[in-house]
């Protein structure tokens, strides 16, 4: 499915032995993951497996109890704003837009690390300031056109329909000119058409030379999109490999459905389960209550 041939194969992200403990609970246990440039990597796992926690460790929102995260060879300090300026941008599972800012302003905020006009420059309004503002606006509008929201630049972010809010979050992340984009359930709450469009969008982003690491419960989406998929179960990385490898792995199926009590499942049962899995369209509706209390009535 992925026809793009990537020229170089440098490592963009290298997470080593990342462990995250909350008191007695080990949410992420010794997970290592690499993402190479030009790759789309998927991260799947049942609810509460620790996927979002792993993202938070990567982006510095959590300080991992153990382990390191390196971006293009440099170990990142666990501070979100430094991670972003280094070149990793993310979206959130439960959309976190700046609800009362306009669509354009949201994207402009994403430009923060790539501009440096401070207070003085804002107060004095020299030619440098005006040029930088104009350039930021232009870039932001380009991004809005890219995701197809340019016509809504002046709307308040909170007034966008759900699918567009997710897209806007992606545009905002892209505004920071990342080398790696982390997407946390980008199609949660979307209908099949919107999911298709998001797939296209992710490919387009990859084609711009941005590596993508994506969490998703929609298996069809993941297996269409990803060069590689890692499976996280109860904080541990169970399998990693191409779509085919992961799809064929019994442990993955067992992890999603629980280990049967009486004997191992027959082959036809596994096939059935996989078919059901693939047909599943809105898996996020059963997202873990701890992270997602949003009601999905807005689609």
């Amino acid at each position: 499915m992925t026809t793009m041939t990537t020229t170089t194969n440098t490592t963009v992200l290298e997470a080593k032995d990342v462990t995250m403990r909350f008191g007695g609970l080990t949410a992420v246990r010794s997970v290592g993951l690499t993402v190479n440039s030009g790759e789309i990597v998927g991260l799947i796992g049942p609810n509460g497996a620790g996927k979002t926690t792993f993202f938070n460790c990567l982006t510095g929102l959590y300080v991992p109890t153990e382990g390191t995260v390196a971006y293009k060879g440099t170990v990142l300090p666990p501070k979100p704003h430094l991670v972003t300026s280094a070149g990793i941008a993310r979206t959130f599972q439960n959309i976190r837009l700046f609800a009362n800012m306009t669509v354009l302003e949201n994207v402009l905020v994403g430009r923060h690390t790539r501009t440096k006009e401070g207070l003085w420059s804002a107060l004095l309004r020299g030619p440098g300031f005006k040029k930088a503002e104009a350039a930021s606006h232009e870039r932001a509008m380009e991004l809005l056109e890219f995701i197809g929201l340019a016509h809504k630049a002046d709307h308040l972010a909170r007034n966008l329909p759900y699918g567009e809010q997710r897209k806007l979050e992606i545009a905002r992340a892209l505004a920071s000119e990342p080398g790696l984009l982390l997407l946390d359930e980008p199609t949660a709450g979307m209908n099949p058409q919107e999911t298709r469009a998001t797939e296209e969008l992710v490919f387009a982003i990859r084609d711009q030379g941005i590596a993508v690491l994506v969490i998703e419960h929609d298996m069809r989406f993941i297996f269409n999109l990803c060069d590689r998929v890692a499976v996280l179960v109860q904080g541990e990385k169970l399998v990693e490999g191409t779509s085919d490898v992961v799809q064929a792995d019994e442990r993955v199926v067992a992890a999603y459905l629980g280990t049967p009590f009486e004997g191992a499942p027959g082959d036809e049962e596994v096939a059935e389960v996989e078919a059901a899995e693939a047909a599943q369209e809105t898996p996020s509706a059963k997202a873990a209550p701890s992270t997602d209390t949003r009601t999905e009535d807005d689609q």
């Binding site: 979100p80 700046f98 609800a99 009362n100 800012m101 804002a122 107060l123 809010q165 992270t291 807005d298």
Partner: protein
């Protein structure tokens, strides 16, 4: 559920034919207007002299203006040529509101005369004529067709009444030549200045009437769509708007013959400027600062100490520009000292620490008196005899003749303070509309997301906090000179006399967070209302608190809403952006600031 009632007829509160209702309003307004030309009472004991026939005065003028507006809005609603521009949006709700304003003011006048002079007997027929006229106008106005078609949920008297006050948005105005638009802006500010000066000059009885009239006429003008039209123009000509506002404000002292009114003006400006500085902190960056007045104090004390006052322990006299710089710098330093350790924490801690700082500042100033501590600030005596400024040979303490007008001491300081206000307005606007301003709003909206977008939350919050402190200190340097002497007791958390921290915060929230005009208007009201209602004595604060509660209940976004706040508070059932936080929140942001 789609179209339950296709093209429902606009209904009205009272079943009257539209023409009859309009005629009734016109007749009532005419009667009320005629009444103002008759005597309302027999003695001049009631202030404003309401005894003259043929010459309205005092409260009668308010009724007269209100009745005229009611009639004009009605005629405009009838489509009279040349007047239709008055009501581009609502046609009936402005009439109802102004009619209520006339009735309210007139009834208040009748009550005030009766109470003050001891009985209804003291009323002359004119008062009754106006009162009955106003009543007829209101009743007839209730029969006007609603501006909006009825909704399903408008049952119950109160809901129906509220519905009657609603109006559709104004349609796009046709393009006017530039000069005409600028003329309209100028005229609007002229009217604004006049209303403001009228309120300041009003004696207590008149001021209450003034408040009633303004409280009902202002929403009427809003419902009529005139404010929306004006906003469109001011947004288009921003520089001209700011200049016009500045000129109108600069005209104020020239309209005042009484020195004490000019002083009220100067004090309002100080209060408003500090409130605008606080708006950077509260409105833009969303940081709750409960001790903000202390920064004003730091600036004022610094300026006083280097002012050359004989009571200053420093005994030096800096030139004013140097005093301003030193005062602002001192506030900046305190801002950073207070902000740096606390801004890493979440909101509540900051509120408590700033509250504490405000008190510590006051108590320290009290204790640096030579007995409890080193003698620096003369303790509770404060620093009196702060000399008047002299800039370029212009002595601010002396009256000056300018263009045929005499400008007294307060007028001089008013103009100086206006310059400072203009600077703060510019700082607010420019910083707000920039990369750093967007970062402030982003941090206010969602700090975790903001840090994930590469914003160093702690850093931008510290900049906002320090900038706010600097602006307050900056204003404080003028305050020291305006008020002759400064004492620790001027910088309380709460007091009946503004500026104090509680009133500053109230001015920002009541006026409208994140806007420029909001805190300015809020400060003017919060200064004038307690000053004019002193006769209420103990009830003053009670009524005041009640008014604030009502305002927050019915207009939570403040008097001047920025477009965001308007949406934030009044839209219901809209798409829900989850406002719950990731469970990592505490960790995430405590760190995010680090």
């Amino acid at each position: 559920m789609t179209t339950k009632t296709p093209a429902q007829q606009p209904t009205s509160l009272l079943p009257l034919p539209a023409t009859a209702a309009r005629t009734g309003v016109l007749a009532g307004a005419a009667l009320a207007l005629a009444g103002t030309f008759l005597a309302w009472t027999w003695t001049e004991e009631f202030p404003g002299n309401l005894t003259v026939t043929g010459y309205p005065g005092g409260l009668q003028v308010l009724t007269l203006v209100g009745a005229t507006l009611t009639a004009l809005f009605t005629l405009s609603g009838m489509g009279i040529r040349g007047l239709t521009w008055l009501t581009p949006a609502g046609k009936s709700s402005p009439v109802l509101l102004t009619a209520l304003g006339v009735l309210g003011t007139t009834l208040y006048a009748i009550a005030a005369i009766s109470v003050q002079l001891g009985g209804i007997i003291n009323l002359e027929p004119g008062a009754w004529v106006s009162g009955v006229g106003a009543l007829i106008a209101v009743i007839a106005a209730l029969g006007l067709p609603h501006d909006l078609p009825a909704e399903e949920d408008t049952t119950g008297a109160w809901a129906r009444f509220k519905h009657a006050l609603k109006a559709p948005p104004a349609p796009r105005a046709k393009e006017l030549p530039n000069w005409a638009e600028i003329l309209i802006i100028t005229a609007a500010f002229g009217i604004g200045l006049y209303v403001f000066a009228y309120g300041i000059d009003a004696y207590s009885e008149l001021f209450v009437g003034f408040l009633i009239t303004v409280a009902l006429v202002a929403p009427a003008v809003f419902r009529a769509g005139l404010i929306a039209r004006l906003n469109r123009l001011t947004a288009k000509h921003r520089t001209i708007t700011l200049t016009a506002a500045l000129i109108a404000a600069a005209c104020f002292p020239f309209t005042q013959t009484d020195e004490s009114y000019a002083l009220i003006g100067a004090n309002i400006l100080i209060f408003a400027t500090v409130a605008l500085g606080l708006n950077v902190v509260v409105g833009l960056a969303g940081l709750l600062d409960l001790g903000y007045v202390a920064f004003l104090g730091v600036g004022a004390y610094t300026a006083a100490l280097v002012s050359g006052s004989p009571q200053s322990t420093f005994g030096v006299q800096f030139p004013f520009w140097a005093a301003v710089l030193v005062g602002a710098a001192a506030s900046l330093i305190f801002g950073v000292l207070i902000g740096a350790p606390t801004l890493r924490l979440r909101g509540d801690y900051l509120a408590i620490v700033t509250l504490g700082f405000g008190e510590i500042f006051r108590i320290t100033m009290n204790n640096l008196n030579g007995s409890a501590g080193p003698d620096i600030t003369n303790g509770s005596q404060g620093i009196p005899n702060i000399p008047d400024l002299e800039l370029f040979g212009f002595n601010f303490g002396m009256p000056h003749e300018i263009a045929g007008f005499t400008l007294g001491r307060s007028g001089n300081y008013y103009l100086l303070m206006l310059l400072f206000t203009a600077v703060v307005v510019m700082v607010f606007r420019r910083s707000g509309e920039s990369r750093i301003g967007r970062a402030w709003v982003a941090v206010r909206e969602d700090e975790t997301a903001a840090t994930a977008m590469g914003i160093n939350g702690f850093r931008v919050k510290l900049i906002a906090f320090a900038l706010g402190a600097t602006l307050a200190g900056f204003a404080g340097t003028v305050q020291a000179h305006v008020s002759y002497s400064i004492t620790p007791e001027q910088y309380l958390f709460a007091n009946t006399v503004p500026p104090n921290s509680a009133f500053l915060l109230a001015a920002v929230i009541l006026g409208g967070m994140g806007t420029i005009s909001g805190p300015l208007i809020g400060a003017a009201l919060l200064y004038l209302i307690p000053a004019k209602l002193q006769f209420l004595e103990d009830f003053q604060l009670l009524l005041f608190g009640l008014a604030l509660i009502l305002l927050m209940r019915f207009r939570p976004e403040g008097l001047v809403a920025n477009k965001r706040a308007q949406l934030e508070f009044h839209e219901t059932g809209q798409l829900d952006v989850p406002d719950q936080r990731l469970p990592d929140d505490a960790v995430g942001t405590a760190k995010a600031g680090a």
